[in-house]
């Protein structure tokens, strides 16, 4: 079952569909993954800006406030300071941007723009004393980590550190973040390094001599990504299943005519040769196949019916004389019969037995021709001499009915079996006399051309109707059964002639008109028998070397 076309189609279909879905799914997943990480990184970048802005502006502002009024602490009231702080921040931003832009990339400037709004609220309450603990050029907003955690939760973290690993400030969630070993080259382009530790994604930015590490857990993103991957896989499986079911149904539809053809063909047996495959409907390759099969069955049927007819005819030809012998013998033995009646009975039985002998011999001859057993004993012969001899033998039969025989025999040499040739000539001459009118005429000629010899026998007889002409070389075919039976014909003569002529590589043809006169023409190639024999031998010869080479 799994070797059937349907299953082969299904397997291929499944394989191709699965491959396409896997590749497609993988590409989609890859793109989704890339997008997710890009989003994470963008997110981290924004976070870094926020941190940078929060730290630096606050720090910068604190430093300034520390320098200008040492004791003054920043006021906790946000609202009051709002406008001034904003303005100051903007000013400072512009200052810093101007200075930074000489050393850092342009995007640093862009990033600094939204920062003040966030940091503003957190700057107050920052102890000024702590600000002085950092390196001289840094003013850090010590409160920022708290703000950071409040704002972004504990999944995100940052670490601000120096190139030598000295941590300046970090969020509490970044308790044990290992710091990368960095070898900054002062004049190299600013560093932006992305690294991943398990579920943590971190980006390290370089700003002059200090570094900022921003990171966060991407567990939820990965989980979301996986969730989408599962959805994708689910959809792919559904598509695959639908595709396979659809494919199975479709291949079933495609296969159905084949199944019908096969079922019909299986129903066709010797007893049921009249069935045909239905070829109605649209024209497809399968209709062509069905039509070809139908033609094959046609030929089979005609060959078979011919065979059946032949068997029936042969059995009839044998049974009838057998019935005569049996019934005559029975009748003779029934009572005491006078000697002359017994003699008649024996005569009848002998006649019937001879008739059976003729039928059996003719059938055997034909069977040998059919099976190729019959060996032609070919040698160079002159057809005109054979024809002359046959005519001499048959002349008494013609004279009995006052039929004149005209011979016009031109020397015609060829290679043939002389016995078989005289059989052909005798058969045709006998027919020409048998189906002739009394006082009729039979003309026999032989002609020789470059490659062929032609024997022609024509009579002035009763003629053959056009409906019979195509069949007269068929076995047991008789135009007039009664007449032929009376004259001793059994209906095999012409069939035997045809077999002999064809074995010599020649052709036999007949022309006739119902008004009277029939002409048989036998055309034989001069090397006919040899050519035919060569063909047979080469056929056998071809097979042997092939078999040899196959073994070799």
């Amino acid at each position: 079952m799994f070797r059937s076309i349907r299953w082969t189609l299904q397997m291929w279909h499944a394989a191709i569909l699965a491959t396409v879905l896997v590749v497609f799914g993988w590409v989609v997943f890859y793109l989704m993954r890339v997008t997710t990480y890009q989003q994470i990184d963008a997110n981290l970048d924004r976070m870094a800006d926020l941190v940078a802005a929060g730290l630096r502006f606050s720090g910068g502002r604190q430093r300034r406030s520390f320098r200008q009024n040492d004791v003054v602490r920043p006021e906790p009231n946000v609202a009051n300071r709002d406008g001034a702080a904003n303005k100051a921040a903007n000013d400072k931003g512009r200052d810093r941007a101007a200075t930074d832009s000489k050393e850092t990339a342009g995007n640093e400037t862009a990033r600094s723009v939204p920062a003040p709004q966030v940091t503003q609220g957190e700057t107050p309450g920052l102890p000024g004393s702590q600000g002085r603990r950092g390196p001289p050029n840094f003013e850090l907003n010590e409160d920022f980590p708290k703000f950071f955690e409040d704002e972004l939760g504990t999944t995100a973290y940052f670490v601000l550190f120096l190139g030598d690993g000295h941590v300046l400030l970090k969020s509490t969630s970044a308790a044990d973040v290992p710091l990368p070993e960095l070898h900054p080259e002062p004049h190299a382009a600013p560093l932006r390094l992305v690294r991943q530790r398990g579920n943590l994604r971190e980006i390290i930015y370089q700003r002059r001599r200090d570094y900022l590490l921003v990171g966060r857990s991407i567990e939820s993103d990965v989980a979301a990504l996986h969730e989408r991957a599962w959805v994708l896989a689910g959809i792919s499986a559904a598509v695959l299943a639908a595709g396979l079911i659809g494919g199975f149904w479709f291949s079933g539809r495609v296969i159905k005519p084949i199944a019908t053809i096969s079922a019909t063909a299986a129903e066709i047996s010797l007893s049921n040769l009249s069935r045909r495959i239905d070829v109605s409907g649209t024209e497809t390759e399968l209709t062509g196949l069905a039509r070809t099969l139908n033609q094959m069955i046609d030929r089979l049927e005609s060959a078979f019916s011919q065979q059946v007819r032949f068997t029936a005819d042969a059995s009839h030809e044998l049974r009838t004389p057998l019935a005569v012998i049996l019934s005559h013998a029975e009748l003779a033995l029934d009572k005491n019969r006078p000697a002359n009646e017994l003699r008649e009975t024996i005569e009848t039985c002998r006649r019937s037995a001879l008739r059976m002998k003729t039928v059996v011999e003719s059938l055997l001859t034909l069977a040998r021709f059919d099976s190729g057993e019959l060996q032609l004993e070919c040698r160079p012969v002159d057809l005109s001499r054979i024809a002359g001899d046959c005519a001499a033998l048959i002349r008494p039969l013609a004279e009995k009915r006052r039929i004149t025989m005209e011979l016009d025999l031109e020397s015609a040499g060829l290679i043939a079996d002389p016995d078989r040739m005289s059989q052909v000539v005798t058969n045709l001459l006998t027919n020409a006399i048998r189906y002739n009118h009394d006082d009729g005429r039979v003309v026999m000629t032989t002609r020789s051309s470059k490659s062929d010899v032609v024997l022609s026998i024509s009579d002035t007889g009763i003629g053959i109707g056009p409906e019979h002409l195509p069949h007269i070389f068929e076995r047991f075919y008789r135009v007039d059964k009664a007449r032929s039976r009376k004259d001793g014909g059994i209906g095999l003569g012409l069939a035997i002639c045809k077999s002999i002529v064809e074995a010599h590589g020649g052709q036999i043809a007949v022309t006739s008109s119902e008004q009277g006169g029939t002409q048989f023409e036998v055309r034989l190639p001069k090397r006919g028998a040899l050519v035919a024999a060569d063909a047979r031998e080469s056929e056998q010869g071809r097979l042997e070397p092939l078999a040899m080479s196959a073994k070799g």
Binding site: H328, E330, L331, R351, A482
Partner: protein
Amino acid sequence: MRILVVEDDPDLLFVIACTLREEGYAVDTAEDGDEGLFKATSWDYDAIVLDIMLPKLDGWSLLERLRRSKAVPVLILTAKDRVNDRVRGLDGGADDYLVKPFELTELRARLRALIRRAAGKSHPVIDVKGVVIDTRSRSVTRNGVEVELTAREYALVELLALHAGRLVTRTMIYEHLYGEDDDSLSNLVEVHVSNVRKKLGREFITTRRGHGYLVRI
């Protein structure tokens, strides 16, 4: 009893006609289909023996045309031995089918049975008022004593007995007792009737003047 034999092989035709005549049947013969059909439709035969492979008109067609007008029993005698052919023959209106080669005794027995059945008497022995006619051995006994009859006389007794209780006209007697080759003038029915009366008793055959004869049950 008159039988038509249609057979194209002259030897076979001869032997069948011969054996049936020896049985006391009147036998007509035909060598081809046309002749067979003509004879079969022109006369009332008691049975027809029909070959299938015939010149001019084959046995199938002959049977088909014959059945349009006649219900005469037909026995097909042919070399065609396939079941299909037997079925075709019997379905085509034949009453029996015999395949060549055959035994003459079987052919005769089958014909006897056909004729008997056609007359509505399926038993081979007919008993009419103490006269017992055994169609198998073609013998007649009167009150247990065997009576010697000629073939013609037996045929007449059998014909009358098969139609016992019904009128048998002189034409019927001529048609059933004499074949086409018989010289009717030398075989006057009255002579045979008179001979049978001598052997089986005057009362066995009743004469219906101007119509024919009758055997009363």
